[in-house]
């Protein structure tokens, strides 16, 4: 196991790790506000158009949404266990758990892609071809299209974060296999874990607000 090189401006490896941890949380704070802006917009329009948002929500597949939430929570468990495996210098277990996290994340994205395809088929993508079918007594189409604008913007940007996370996890698998991570140095694994968990938390809020209205 190689000793971690400590950059000259740190007292020791511990301080270097805590600096990385603090820096990562500051970045996550910006992410919270980034998604927060979308949630704030959503909250305002839902307050103004409750029936339209409920009608839009009714078009989302509750079973797939619940399944996806379970899959993502599972991927967070795998990620947390992966960090622990790195901490305890269990390289093979670390690699397996990182791959499991990637696999579950990919399943999530696959389900999302299927949902998006379905929405395209049902003419529910905002734009020229948006058309609300079925009976929705007294609900204007405009606000429902607005709901779907929020749906695609929020889940789309969330999915983009997942893709980036999966790519980073891929690089971690390569590095882990080379034996780069162990009890004395596992910072990249811990940082990626923090990022992944935050993306999971975003979905924990997205799911009830988009799928479970009314």
């Amino acid at each position: 196991m190689s000793a971690t090189p400590v950059a000259h401006h740190f007292d020791d490896a511990d301080q270097q790790f805590y600096a990385a941890q603090l820096g990562m949380w500051i970045f996550l704070a910006t992410e919270v506000l980034f998604f927060g802006g979308l949630f704030a917009g959503y909250a305002q329009y839902r307050y103004w158009y409750p029936e339209a948002f409920a009608a839009g929500s009714g078009h989302l597949d509750l079973v797939l949404g619940t399944l996806n939430t379970t899959v993502l929570l599972g991927s967070s468990l795998a990620m947390a266990l992966a960090v622990r495996a790195a901490q305890t210098s269990h390289t093979r277990e670390l690699v397996r758990l990182l791959i499991a996290t990637i696999a579950l994340g990919t399943v999530f994205l696959g389900v999302k892609a299927y949902e998006y395809y379905h929405k395209w088929h049902e003419h529910l993508i905002p734009g020229q071809s948006f058309q609300l079918e079925g009976e929705h007594a007294g609900v204007a189409e405009g606000p429902v299209e607005l709901f779907f604008s929020f749906y695609f913007a929020m889940t789309g940007v969330h999915a983009l974060h997942m893709v980036i996370g999966i790519a980073i996890l891929g690089t971690l698998v390569v590095r882990a296999r080379r034996g780069e991570f162990h009890g004395d140095y596992f910072t990249p694994v811990e940082m990626t874990g923090l990022y992944w968990h935050l993306v999971d938390i975003v979905w924990v809020f997205l799911f009830p607000f988009l799928y479970l209205i009314g």
Binding site: A13, D14, F17, Y18, Q21, L22, W25, I26, L28, A29, V32, L33, G36, G37, F39, A40, A43, Q44, Y47, P50, L62, T66, T69, T70, L73, G74, S76, L77, M79, A80, L81, R84, Q87, T88, G183, D184, Y185, F186, E190, G193, L194, H197, L198, D200, I201, V204, F205, F207, P208, F209, L212, G214
Partner: protein, 91 residues
Amino acid sequence: MSSHIVQKRVYYQVFGALLVLLFLTVAATAIEDPTWGVVAAVTIAVVKATLIVLFFMHLAYSAPVVRIFACSAFVWLFFLFIFTASDYLTR
């Protein structure tokens, strides 16, 4: 490295709790009153997020400075919601 190593059992228990809360989230759609429905959904989501932050993200075992910065994210989020809402509500 002196970072705290969390027992696997804790991770599994948190995961179990998250699944139970997910079940409750879906069950809460049965609440008739829309306001209480939103309150229930937000409350359950906040509990889930808190569990993830404390245990999966190790905030329960992190240095005080890190915890302050993490909380500040949600303080600013709170500002965002409060000031946006109060603008619209007072028009």
